[in-house]
């Protein structure tokens, strides 16, 4: 996991005050920390903040105890994927997977491939459909996969990370 010391949190809730999604989530950052103190189980992984957190780093920047809360959330995401927690609204785990797959394959992101794969996985075919023609016309979405990256290096990195994960199991 991470090497963050969460035990120093004294529930001042400065993280919640600055969190851009705290009024949209059921469990603001301070609650996540408190529940971890109280030895939360897998139920914590279904808290909507785990995937709604925008990784804006505001909580970390303002925490008087310097707790790296975004790294805690990232660690929870890792556990949620590992323990096969049901996909959250928007299915960010799928998004991450298809995003990284294009990076592994092409060495760089391939937006079109990633968007299509995420749409198929979430069955949201019509979402933003009005935007694609104009985005394509303005060449804000590239039709062809990216070229010029050191694909071998990208693959090497992904393979090495996979091996490390497997050896830790």
């Amino acid at each position: 996991m991470t090497d963050v010391d969460m035990s120093v949190c004294f529930q001042c809730k400065k993280c919640d005050s600055g969190c851009p999604v705290s009024n949209l989530t059921g469990s603001p950052p301070s609650e996540i920390l408190r529940r971890l103190h109280l030895a939360a189980g897998n139920e914590l992984l279904t808290s909507d903040l785990v995937w709604m957190c925008v990784s804006c780093e505001t909580c970390f920047a303002r925490c008087p105890m310097g707790i790296d809360i975004p790294s805690v959330i990232d660690a929870l995401r890792g556990l949620a994927v590992e323990r096969k927690t049901p996909a959250p609204e928007g299915n960010m785990p799928l998004f991450n997977r298809v995003f990284l797959k294009t990076v592994k394959f092409f060495g760089r992101t391939y937006d079109l491939g990633m968007i299509v794969a995420h749409k198929i996985g979430t069955r949201t075919y019509m979402k933003d459909a009005d935007k694609f023609p104009v985005m394509l016309k303005k060449r804000k979405i590239a039709l062809l996969p990216p070229r010029g990256a050191d694909r071998k290096m990208a693959k090497r990195i992904f393979d090495s990370v996979r091996r490390k994960k497997e050896s830790q199991k």
Binding site: D74, R108, K131, G148, A154
Partner: protein, 293 residues
């Protein structure tokens, strides 16, 4: 003034105009940007949400290449900037991560390549005075809300870019260009960034809050330095209108596009036509410097 240039993936898709305007401005100011051959994606949010070593190794592969060029690395995308800075920080502070990274790359990386945002190069290396002297046009009092978002300034101990709560780098450039940089409270609020495609409803809410505040402050446009900020604030204005009825109609323009215009670079070279909300009102305000005197 020569740098190893890391364009980032958005330079070939959503942020083509940021890349184009950065390159054009650099050329005009005599900054030599040598693109890193074979650069790979920094991994951005999906990488750090997935694995710590992956999130450090992808950027590190590019840092190693810059190191071989013997140059500082220059970035325009705030997300790439943050990932590259974080990779350095991880390698320098966590020996175990460094070990895993060197295993992944097949060579050791010591975390010593200096990572700079193009805005830092403008302010620290070129310097305001020289930029001011090169300007052909003035923004002539255009009211600009400078928006920094998250990843340029946070986390502060890693990025060390300006003041994390009230940064002024973009404001200083806007002021030098003859614009009026606005004092407003949402400079470093989040637009929803990473949730752009997955939780668009959240992005619409957060971007609406930023734009509502910019308008309340009297902004004629918003200046940005991050592709995610740009696309969310620009593209989502039509969704905000549909959902809330608020028609912000605010051009969201890259700081390098504004600077390019003031340096007298042609609009098409700066990719102005790629913005969703037309920046015509901004272009119309440009006044030749000599006409102001």
């Amino acid at each position: 003034m020569k740098y190893a240039y890391y364009p980032g993936c958005a330079s070939d898709s959503t942020a083509r105009e940021q890349h184009a305007s950065c390159v054009a401005v650099a050329r005009s100011l005599g900054i030599d940007l040598a693109e890193i051959a074979g650069w790979i994606c920094c991994g951005t949010t999906p990488a750090h949400q997935t694995d710590r070593v992956l999130a450090a190794s992808l950027p590190a592969a590019n840092l190693v290449r810059a190191q071989k060029m013997g140059l500082d690395i220059v970035v325009t995308c705030a997300a790439c900037y943050s990932m590259l800075k974080m990779a350095n920080y991880e390698v320098l502070h966590h020996p175990q991560v460094r070990e895993h990274v060197s295993e992944a790359l097949g060579q050791d990386y010591d975390g010593s390549v200096r990572v700079r945002h193009f805005v830092e190069v403008l302010l620290e290396d070129v310097e305001i005075d020289r930029i001011r002297k090169a300007l052909k046009h003035s923004l002539n009092g255009l009211k600009v809300a400078c928006y920094y978002g998250c990843l340029l300034v946070r986390p502060p101990e890693v990025n060390q870019f300006d003041d994390p709560e009230n940064p002024t780098s973009l404001d200083r450039l806007v002021t030098a260009m003859g614009g009026e940089s606005l004092d407003w409270p949402h400079k470093v609020e989040c637009c929803g960034g990473a949730l752009s495609l997955t939780r668009t409803d959240v992005v619409v809410k957060l971007s609406d809050a930023v734009l509502t505040m910019a308008r309340a402050a009297g902004a004629d446009c918003v200046a940005v330095a991050c592709p995610m900020c740009q696309i969310n604030l620009d593209l989502r204005q039509s969704d905000i209108k549909k959902e809330t009825g608020r028609d912000h109609n605010l051009p969201i323009i890259y700081i390098t596009q504004l600077l390019g215009l003031c340096l007298g670079i042609a609009a098409d070279e700066l990719g102005l036509e790629k913005l969703m909300v037309s920046p015509e009102s901004v272009v119309k305000r440009l006044t030749r410097v000599e006409e102001l005197v």
